[in-house]
Symmetry: C2
């Protein structure tokens, strides 16, 4: 029973967060769509794959090099926000409050998964600090084990370079509920309490 | 901000069950994959779309015409199981217990969505009943409002043709819990109780 439909299902299943049932549903859907919509889908994949490259400065995904953020003179180039993935850049940009630039590590330190210092864009981050304009690095790696370890490693490394290093705040999310918050979040929120 | 990545995100978002967050995740994932994996994905889409056609007998999706089920002489061609979609054929085939043939309606009657009798493969089903070999039609449309209405309509239509018409049983699913069953399911399970 290895039909072209099964093979398409397998391809969908490889994608993150897609289980076997969703993969089957998507494969059946695609096959039953009008040809022009399938063509548009394939063209969008090809176009995105061919035009989106990594910015040679911050390693964010962009169709330009340097990316629009790195080449924007209105942004504050004295602050570099270090994140794990291009998706993180997009999330912070959507929040609309940050006006500095970014540096995408493309992962977090994870010895168990074989991800070490040389697998991340850390060397390139250090090189950017040679620019005397840079005054602060904000560590915005995820608040999980790997992200915390990466932040700790970078904090030690960058402080020796005499630069201001900060870490994004941890606390209760907006709309969150104290009753249902996990212990680590709640402990962090109390420890990081602020004057009113 | 209409980048090739945004356009790919939009394409993923069109697919059933894919929200904006999943669409973004998939678009970012695809763009960061090795080119050969993206090529394999695109080839699988193209191949499935080009080779999978509707069987001219039962209207199931297949790369052959008639499909392997319709052309299998070991199957019982006297029983036709009527379903809404090709996915339903696959689900019943996986259960492994049915050895008759199928007829795919490609939808269910839904006046509110503008789906009428002429939009489904009902005419083609009636034509198949001209074959004197056909003894029974099993109505296996979904147990929801549209599926029930379709089953009711077909039952009336087919009974006038003097053919045996049955409906798949409703009841509690295996591993189900009486306490959490909805009223309609429970009422149906009691009404359809069987001797032990």
């Amino acid at each position: 029973m290895d039909t072209p439909l099964d093979r398409l299902t397998e391809q969908f299943r490889r994608l993150p967060g897609i289980g076997i049932k969703t993969a089957r549903k998507l494969a059946y859907y695609i096959v039953q769509e009008p040809p022009e919509r399938v063509d548009a889908f394939v063209a969008a994949i090809r176009n995105a794959k061919e035009t989106m490259k990594f910015c040679s400065v911050c390693f964010n995904l962009s169709s330009q090099d340097p990316c629009p953020i790195c080449s924007d003179s209105k942004r504050d180039h004295s602050v570099i926000c270090v994140v794990e993935t291009p998706q993180d850049v997009m999330a912070i940009e959507r929040s609309g409050d940050y006006h500095g630039v970014y540096h995408v590590l493309h992962g977090a330190l994870s010895p168990l998964d074989g991800v070490g210092v040389e697998d991340l864009r850390i060397k390139e981050l250090i090189q950017r600090l040679n620019d005397p304009e840079v005054k602060e690095v904000i560590l915005a790696t995820d608040p999980d084990v790997e992200g915390e370890a990466t932040a700790l490693y970078l904090a030690r490394l960058l402080k020796t370079a005499g630069i201001r290093v900060t870490r994004i705040a941890r606390g209760l999310p907006m709309g969150g509920d104290i009753e249902y918050a996990d212990e680590a979040t709640l402990a962090g929120a109390v420890a990081n309490r602020q004057e009113m």
